[in-house]
């Protein structure tokens, strides 16, 4: 076990009112395995950065313990913890050259200049930073600065590598490139990593597991697949990607398989966030791309009958918004390869269906 957080909470004095307090992190439990890359994902203010700073030692937890490599590190200051951080702003020392930046940690360890040089050159090679040795930070592009920050953190061979929204200062294209790059380098060196981001696509790309946080609490821990397709609750379902939440009711249970009744049809679904009771109201989580649209044939074979209210043509896909009588929310559906699948017009009636495997049940909140 590389990193273990036990009942971590952090309470700050409120910045506005002197005697009030803000609970930034609430009883977080987390275990991270060797070589694993775990992402803390959540909206701003959810406590993900605070959690990261507690691991690095920049914040002291109000309660709980931090373990790194089997050692309790609560009382170790950040400079004596075996962690390296890649900062959101990169935090490259503006008065040092690229090589001096990368070699900074080794210099602090008291390495000989020749050995530092060798190591720095090796890492710069891996990081595609050749020929930048003597550059000054202000002569680097955003992507290059990002690489320098990463190289500077990796060169120390830390037990844990920490990323604090490292890509948020890059433009969209570079961001996509760098997240693949970060994953590649993390895999090359097999460094245990904790990655903080609010971008779910970024989290999906880089992570072995994702920790979804909200209001300081952990909402769900799971693989990208589990987080996307098997969300534990409404918050996770709604936060990750576009989602349809279709109201229904359990009519029968058989082990972990549930018969669900909808407005016009019914379905047997075997994936649920929690054990459900007969008669319980539920929400069915189905992603827009999992919905199948067709021209309605005989009325009794239709699961849900919708009416097209909006069409957005994107080229490779068409997005439909459909209203279904008796449902609170409209339904979003994405049809890929529309030329073969056919088009629907505004006002047209459409039969909506989905594969049972693509659906996941969560209890409806009253």
């Amino acid at each position: 076990m590389s990193v273990r957080l036990v009942n971590i909470s952090k309470i700050f004095p409120s910045p506005d009112t002197p005697h009030k307090q803000v609970v930034a992190v609430k009883a977080v439990e987390l275990e991270i395995n060797d070589g694993e890359m775990v992402t803390l994902l959540g909206p701003s203010g959810c406590g993900k950065t605070t959690t990261l700073r507690i691991i690095s030692g920049f914040e002291m937890p109000t309660t709980g313990d931090v373990w790194i490599e089997g050692q309790k590190v609560n009382d170790l200051p950040p400079n004596r913890r075996d962690t390296s951080m890649v900062f959101q702003s990169y935090a490259i020392f503006p008065h040092l050259s690229v090589a001096q930046n990368i070699g900074f940690g080794l210099e602090l360890k008291g390495w000989k200049a020749a050995r530092i040089r060798e190591e720095v050159e090796r890492i710069m090679e891996v990081m595609n930073l050749k020929d930048m040795y003597h550059r000054r930070p202000d002569q680097l592009s955003g992507g290059q600065q990002q690489r320098v920050a990463l190289a500077r953190a990796i060169i120390n061979k830390p037990s844990v590598l920490l990323f604090d929204e490292p890509l948020s200062n890059l433009d969209a294209k570079l961001r996509e490139l760098m997240r693949v790059e970060i994953r590649r380098i993390q895999q090359t060196f097999k460094i245990t990593s904790v990655y903080v981001t609010h971008d779910q696509a970024e989290a999906m790309t880089v992570s072995d597991r994702i920790v979804v946080m909200n209001d300081g609490e952990v909402m769900q821990i799971g693989t990208p697949f589990e987080i996307y397709s098997r969300p534990a609750n409404l918050f996770v379902a709604d936060f990750i990607g576009k989602v349809n939440l279709i109201e229904g009711r359990i009519t029968d249970t058989k082990g972990e398989t549930y018969a669900v009744e909808y407005k016009t049809g019914s379905k047997t679904i075997s994936s649920a966030a929690a054990a459900l009771q007969k008669g319980q109201k539920i929400l069915t989580v189905v992603r827009p791309e999992s919905l199948r649209l067709a021209k309605p044939q005989s009325p009794d074979s239709v699961l849900l009958l919708g009416k097209v209210v909006k069409i957005v043509y994107l080229g490779p896909t068409v997005e439909y918004e459909l209203s279904v009588d008796g449902l609170k929310r409209t339904i979003a559906a994405v049809v890929s390869n529309p030329i073969e699948a056919g088009f629907f017009d505004i006002g047209e009636e459409v039969a909506i269906d989905f594969h049972p495997q693509a659906a996941h049940l969560i209890p409806a909140e009253e």
């Binding site: 109000t62 004596r80 900074f104």
Partner: protein, 587 residues
């Protein structure tokens, strides 16, 4: 140490239990303090530095002030207001108080007007000779504050160039209110100029463009947009001018005369002339109260009201807020003021070379021979004191700035306030405080180099702190966190990352405190001795004994040294940082 650690740990256990019960429960101040101590004690070096700085601030800033207060309100170990009563019973000393306040207020008004005139003309119009006007407005800042007074005597005094040599007026009365006001305005308007120029430059010209575009006349735009946005800056500049004038010692000592008593001079005369320590201290206390209160009013209230209108890149806009006629009127007024300043410095320069000012203005080097002969010890001593105290004050200021901006520890607010306090306290008061505080064991420092050094260091740390704080607020905190994260402790982070980043601010602070140290008089005049003498004090005694030529020669050398130092530091910085380096300095 052990007991403190235990204390802290039990404190934090208590916090944990509390929080387990209820996250909303308030942690007491003591718990928080305990936690802060626990945090710092993770880094013993940091802890030692903080304790040392707090201790020295108490001993070298607060303790002398305490002694001044104690001396004036304690009689034979008992609290008594009799000395203060005596002071207020004296018509003459009451006049001194009123005169000082009035002089401060008038200097604030006229200084702010001239300062605004210069700042507005330089930043908002396209008048010619901007560079020249800027230099003319800066020169009084880098020269001894009493040069104005000295020059005014040489121009308008009994043997004055204008009053006697040109106009043949006998016994023209320049001493007193009129002369002093002119000297103070000339000396202090540059402070208002610098403040207001910053304020005006931060007001985006696009705001004026927008107002003009909406159909406002130029005068209306100035009155409804530019001026209101500058008002907090003007108020702030006036308060600063008030405090500085109130605290000023050199100009009134030369120009006030006995008919127009001024508080700081009277305090000095009570102590050095009458050896009346309680009464001198009481006068100092009376001087202290308005200075400190107005200073903090300025710092924590008015300066917060300033508008921030600049976002992103400064926008380009051609000046069109003034009509050509107004532009030339502004230009003419600025030229007039600049010409007067030029006259003042030319007079000093001529006076330094004139055989006997007023009666025989033929050129001679005799005054310089005097300065480099008999007077040379003062030159050497001044250089030693300023040369040693300035870098020490600079480093200390940077360290305090770093601690105050970046660290959390108990006593942080105290450190910030007490270190800035010496900006607000008039030199006369701190000088008297040092005399009282350090004339007996274990801190017997009277007459030593050390007392001068300590006085200068603790008087000029605020300069370093201000520039340090300004630059640290610009540097992202994560840069230091990155160093810590990579394994550097507080000491190494400061030395290898923070300090190099602060170098430009350090040097511009250094120049400013060097200027202040070279030109200091109000506190130093109490602390000089036969073994350690200062040029400024020499100039004063030359003026007092009527040797204006020697005083002028000393002043020329003094300004020369300061200019040389500025040029030296600037070129050193340009060498190190390229062309950027030179412009890093404000002056």
């Amino acid at each position: 140490m052990m007991t403190r650690r235990e204390l802290c740990e039990s404190g934090s256990r208590r916090i944990r239990n509390q929080n387990a019960e209820s996250a909303k429960m308030k942690t007491s101040v003591w718990d928080r303090t305990g936690k802060q101590i626990r945090l710092i004690s993770r880094d013993p070096f940091l802890l030692i530095v903080i304790v040392l700085i707090l201790a020295s601030l108490i001993v070298f800033i607060l303790y002398p002030l305490f002694r001044v207060i104690a001396m004036s309100v304690f009689q034979d170990g008992r609290f008594s207001l009799s000395v203060l009563g005596e002071v207020f019973a004296s018509w003459y000393l009451r006049r001194a108080f009123l005169n000082s306040v009035m002089m401060g207020a008038l200097t604030a008004v006229f200084g702010a007007i001239i300062g605004f005139l210069f700042a507005f003309s330089v930043s908002r119009t396209d008048i010619p000779l901007k560079k020249f006007l800027h230099i003319m407005a800066i020169i009084p800042i880098i020269s001894p504050p009493f040069i104005g007074a000295l020059s005014i005597i040489m121009l308008f005094g009994n043997n004055g160039l204008i009053t006697w040599s040109l106009l043949k007026i006998n016994n023209f009365q320049i001493y007193g209110f009129r002369g002093l006001l002119i000297a103070q305005v000339v000396t202090f308007f540059p402070v208002a100029y610098i403040t207001l120029r910053g304020v005006l430059e931060s007001i985006s010209p696009t705001l004026e463009d927008a107002a003009l575009d909406l159909g406002g006349s130029r005068w209306k735009v100035f009155r409804r947009v530019t001026l209101p946005l500058a008002i907090p800056g003007i108020a702030s500049a006036m308060l600063v001018l008030f405090v500085e004038t109130l605290a000023d010692f050199g100009n009134p000592l030369i120009l006030a005369g006995s008919q127009f008593p001024i508080l700081s001079v009277q305090a000095y005369l009570q102590i050095t002339g009458m050896y009346d320590l309680p009464k001198g201290s009481a006068l100092a206390l009376i001087l202290l109260v308005p200075s400190v209160s107005v200073y903090f009013l300025q710092k924590y209230w008015v300066s917060r009201k300033q508008y921030v209108t600049v976002t992103g890149k400064p926008t380009q806009s051609s000046p069109k807020i003034v009509s050509p006629a107004v532009k030339w009127l502004l230009f003419a007024s600025c030229l007039l003021v600049a010409a007067f300043i030029l006259l003042i410095y030319a007079t000093i320069l001529w006076g330094a070379f004139a055989r006997v000012w007023g009666s025989d203005n033929s050129l001679t080097l005799q005054h310089f021979r005097y300065v480099f002969g008999v007077g040379f010890k003062a030159v050497k001593d001044t250089l030693i004191v300023a040369g040693l105290s300035t870098p020490l004050a600079g480093v200390l200021g940077m360290i305090i700035a770093f601690l105050v901006v970046r660290k959390t520890f108990p006593g942080k607010r105290f450190m910030e306030l007490s270190s800035m306090l010496s900006f607000a306290v008039p030199g006369t008061v701190i000088g008297i405080g040092y005399v009282l505080a350090f004339n007996s064991r274990p801190l017997l420092l009277t007459g030593t180099l050390l007392i001068l050094l300590l006085n200068f260091i603790f008087r000029y740390i605020p300069v370093g702190i201000q520039s340090g704080v300004a630059i640290l607020r610009q540097v992202d905190a994560s840069i230091e966190e990155a160093a810590i994260d990579l394994g550097a402790d507080a000491n190494r982070t400061f030395r290898k990352v923070t300090l190099p980043l602060m170098v430009p601010a350090f040097f511009s602070g250094l120049i400013y405190s060097f200027v202040r140290a070279m030109t200091a008089i109000s506190a130093a005049i109490f602390l000089v001795s036969s073994s350690w003498h200062l040029m400024t004090v020499q100039i004063m005694s030359q003026v007092e004994s009527g040797r204006l030529g020697a005083a002028a020669a000393f002043s020329v050398i003094l300004v020369g040294i300061i200019l040389a130092a500025i040029i030296l530091i600037r070129s050193a910085l340009s060498l190190r940082y390229g062309r950027m380096g030179g412009t890093m300095l404000k002056i």
